[in-house]
């Protein structure tokens, strides 16, 4: 069992800006010095609804990127889709609103020690943390290629500046409204062979992560995926966000995706046993 992120802190942090980007909101929050400790893959747990809210649980959001040197100090960027009550509330908060948050939480993407070819795969707004990761990998000399997918074009998150750190970016939509018609997993096997990919980094919905694992199991390639499981606390005390994961000795344990994840070894996650009694 691993421990809670040792840098995790609770703080009151003001929103610097909240900008609508298509179907999503880009929310920048002034988090001061803790920006230094946030790594790609980490997430933040935010209290929503204001003091008298009937929403008692924190909401977890992937930190899409951090900046340590803005004019206001350290900031984090979140890409939030206003889907549920909590995310709708957050998207409605403007500049200056002070948020109660806990960050950084969870595991981070592992960065290769050698400059190797890597492939980043994002589904829907799950792609957001991949852009900060791409910059980091690029700065370490890795060749970075990216695949983005969604059911339809309006659900693709691909900021213009995001393309700077990647060698190529291909978009797949199931309805063909943007990029290539099809699933983001379609070209993966071929890309692994063509580019000799050593690591695949992915974030997005569970079926996509499971499908990527099926492909990577056929190759000598590491699959680091950021999982999304609903959480009540985000700090490891509620035991609701578990996933079945294979241990060193071959047994399977329900591990907390907030503590042992969100970044997990895709090959170890027992995708077919998610939602099953183990």
């Amino acid at each position: 069992m691993t421990q809670i992120n040792k840098h995790a802190k609770q703080l009151l942090a003001p929103i610097v800006s909240n900008t609508r980007v298509g179907q999503y909101h880009q929310i920048i929050i002034n988090i001061g010095d803790i920006a230094t400790n946030c790594k790609p893959g980490n997430f933040v747990a935010i209290s929503v609804g204001g003091g008298s809210s009937s929403m008692v649980l924190r909401r977890a959001f992937a930190i899409s990127r951090v900046s340590t040197s803005t004019t206001v100090g350290g900031t984090m960027e979140l890409i939030v889709a206003p889907h549920g009550q909590g995310s709708k509330w957050l998207c409605a908060q403007g500049e200056g609103v002070v948020l109660d948050l806990v960050a950084p939480l969870g595991t981070a993407f592992g960065i290769p020690t050698e400059p190797v070819p890597v492939l980043l795969v994002g589904g829907g707004y799950g792609s957001a943390p991949l852009f900060g990761l791409a910059e980091l990998l690029n700065s370490r000399g890795c060749r970075v290629d990216m695949l983005l997918g969604a059911s339809t074009g309006s659900k693709i998150y691909a900021p213009m500046e995001g393309k700077r750190a990647v060698n190529s970016m291909r978009i797949y939509t199931e309805d063909g409204s943007m990029g290539v018609a099809g699933r983001v997993t379609d070209p993966i096997a071929e890309i692994i062979k063509d580019l000799n990919v050593a690591v695949i980094y992915s974030c997005g919905p569970m079926p996509m992560l499971a499908a990527i694992t099926k492909i990577t199991n056929q190759f000598d390639v590491i699959h680091q995926c950021a999982v999304e499981e609903s959480m009540a606390c985000g700090v490891g005390i509620c035991m609701t966000c578990v996933l079945p994961v294979e241990n060193e000795d071959g047994t399977i344990s329900n591990l907390r995706s907030c503590i042992d994840g969100p970044v997990m070894d895709g090959a170890k996650v027992q995708w077919s046993k998610v939602g099953q009694q183990i």
Binding site: Q3, I4, K6, A8, Q10, S47, S54, M55, V56, L57, R58, D100, V102, E229, S230, M231, A232, C233, V235, G236, I237, C238, M239, T240, C241, V242, L243, I252, S253, N254, I259, V274, G275, Q276, Q277, I278
Partner: protein, 313 residues
């Protein structure tokens, strides 16, 4: 500077503050220690532990509901041996006061767990969580069966002898809570933990099936607070000498004070910690201030105050 004696006692166990985690809502304390020193609260009530490692129920395990949540974890845990080897020593090292919560599927399992705890140093009390299905009686929850509740506590008491205080954690899902409380006290419980979660269900209208993997779940959070306050009030009226740990939706110092006035000698904070990892610390500070504001010089003076007739003031 007003002096306030904030301490509380359960059986022979003394705690410097009346604030505790609620079992199942703080794991074994390690994660909350990232946010505040565990020794600063009254005590850590650990997640109910069973004899063997338990994987728990399948996901989804959680559904947020208005002012509350449903959970269906299924007592996932490492088993008593791993727990005693790793978790208790950690808590002792943190100078936290420890209440170990145990759960079993048979009367015998509870006694076996109590036997393992008997000689462990650093434990202040045992919480016996009897809101588990009794596999020997068609899965009927112990806490819903007065005779089974009594037998579990009797077995634990006989096993551990007279030293360690026993706190029986009761379910509100019963017709006559007071009679169950009296039964477990007669069987040797020194204190009562009131209340466990309230059984509930959420149906997902898209899949048109129960949302939780375990189908039913325990409702917690402010939504159940009035039920908890009522339970504490009724049981305290019937058993005024028995210390009660009050819990169920306590999220502020005011909520904690309500429990104390109803008759609780201490409060456990559960779901509020999910929403705010430092909730216990702020509840503790607020409660202290509220007691001082009302002219109390000790917590004990306020316990059960709501039962006093108005004319007595």
């Amino acid at each position: 500077m007003t002096a306030l004696d904030f301490s509380t006692t359960i059986g022979n166990a003394w705690f410097p503050a009346p604030t505790f985690t609620a079992s199942g809502c703080a794991s074994s304390g390690r994660e909350l220690a990232q946010f505040f020193p565990l020794r600063e609260m009254g005590g850590v009530v650990t997640k109910s532990v069973m004899s063997k490692m338990r994987p728990g129920r399948p996901t989804p395990r959680m559904a947020e509901t208005p002012s509350g949540m449903l959970n269906s974890i299924g007592l996932q845990g490492p088993g008593i041996d791993a727990f005693l080897a790793k978790d208790v020593p950690y808590l002792v090292e943190q100078k936290a006061r420890v209440i170990v919560s145990i759960a079993g599927e048979t009367v015998e399992e509870y006694s076996t767990l109590a036997r393992k705890l008997r000689s462990v140093s650093g434990i202040s009390a045992i919480e016996v969580n009897i809101s588990c299905p009794n596999v020997e009686n068609r899965g009927l929850v112990f806490a819903c069966d007065p005779e089974a509740s009594r037998r579990v506590i009797d077995g634990v008491r006989r096993t551990i002898g007279g030293e360690l205080p026993i706190i029986a954690k009761l379910s509100p899902d019963v017709t006559d809570l007071v009679s169950i409380a009296k039964g477990v006290v007669d069987a040797g419980a020194d204190g009562l933990a009131l209340i466990n979660t309230v059984l509930g269900m959420v149906i997902n209208v898209d899949t048109m099936r129960p949302h939780l993997g375990g189908k039913t779940g325990g409702l917690s959070g402010p939504a159940i607070r009035p039920i908890a306050v009522r339970a504490v009030y009724q049981v305290h009226a019937a058993l005024p000498q028995i210390p009660i740990l009050g819990m169920g939706g306590v999220a502020s110092g005011k909520d904690a004070l309500e429990m104390i006035l109803a008759g609780a000698s201490g409060v456990s904070i559960g779901t509020a910690s999910f929403g705010n990892p430092t909730a216990i610390m702020s509840i503790q500070d607020e409660l202290k201030q509220l007691l001082i504001d009302r002219g109390f010089t000790s917590l004990k003076q306020a316990v059960g105050f709501a039962h006093r007739p108005i004319e007595a003031e």
